[in-house]
Subunit: 211 residues, 2 copies
Amino acid sequence: MSQSDTKTRILDGAEQLFAREGFHNTSLRTLTSLASVNLASVNYHFGSKESLLQAVIERRLLPLNRIREEKIEKVLSAAKKIASPPEAEALLRAFIEPTMEFRNSSPGARDFISLIGRSLTEPDETIRNCFMDLALPILQVLFEALHQALPQLSPAILMTRLQFIIGTMSHVMCMSSHSIFHSSELPPAFDHDALVEPLIKYVVAGLEAPE
Amino acid sequence: MSQSDTKTRILDGAEQLFAREGFHNTSLRTLTSLASVNLASVNYHFGSKESLLQAVIERRLLPLNRIREEKIEKVLSAAKKIASPPEAEALLRAFIEPTMEFRNSSPGARDFISLIGRSLTEPDETIRNCFMDLALPILQVLFEALHQALPQLSPAILMTRLQFIIGTMSHVMCMSSHSIFHSSELPPAFDHDALVEPLIKYVVAGLEAPE
DNA sequence: GTCTATAGATTGATAGAC
DNA sequence: GTCTATCAATCTATAGAC
């Protein structure tokens, strides 16, 4: 088996297990068994379990953030061309839509989205920072862009509401399979595709509420 | 040491550690050491680590849900008296405010709120259900009440938006200490008290957005 | 690069004295 | 009810043969 095969199989398996079972609840034995690689190969290729998590997140998040940033910049430059402020909805759409599209691109991507949605609330700071370090730049870009779109909002309240938006998103991203009301008598069916437009409508309304 | 003392010390310690370190990342040895009780007493009093988690959640969540339900019923009956539908904002306030007030009632309560905020995105279904089983009844009460307040919203979209609201809340509840932008140059200070009103304003606007 | 074997530490749970 | 002592299983990580 070639090196890249082994590395990829480890990354794929880790992505799945970290998302579905949690990082601390996933043992290297379970992982290497699922990935059909040798137990020792994880430490050989990645050095440690934590560095593996870092690699899992980097592999997908860097390309995703590149797409999100491109789309945001496109909205900004289009607005500049007609000398008007950008639309908040267009900016949030540029941020949210690629996430959900990416989620549907493969089963692994689905697990990945669930994993990073969960990383935000991770109590273990080391784990949380694995994700946050890579997410901060794009969030700052989004913050600046939204400030242009809604200059009437104070930076403090804009920041607060952006946090709410991230919270809403990360929750949706985690709910791969389990709706909150899954076991209740209420209408279940937590369909992510059908969720994108309602999600955008919800966060835009919350963001644009009068201060 | 009396039995109830030991039980309480275990519950307090577990609440703190499960919230701050995570359930799987908390060992019984760390817990019993922090609580200054014997290692064996956890299994003696609670049977297992998982049953302990269940007890930790029940101790606080049952009283909190009783308060939330009372406040919701009060809004409903006041509306009934004047023969008008209840206000969505009053209902969400009845749900959210007790949570945040409770959070400030003691350091343990603060950890607890962080713990249940996190439970929703817990990948381990057993753990997630420890919380969900106790949370479902009040969520159904809230759903029914919001349906009276906003009859123009279809049950499906109301349900979806209620999930968004829970997501926003649970994210706020988790952020005891760490703001998303904590390590950035942007204004930090994630003050929960100052967050209640912006949170209510945000979720009400999102909930009442035109369909 | 991949493997076996294992070190060395830690885990949840329990048996049995007091 | 509380303690010590310990079991049996698990864990991450590594050494060394191939």
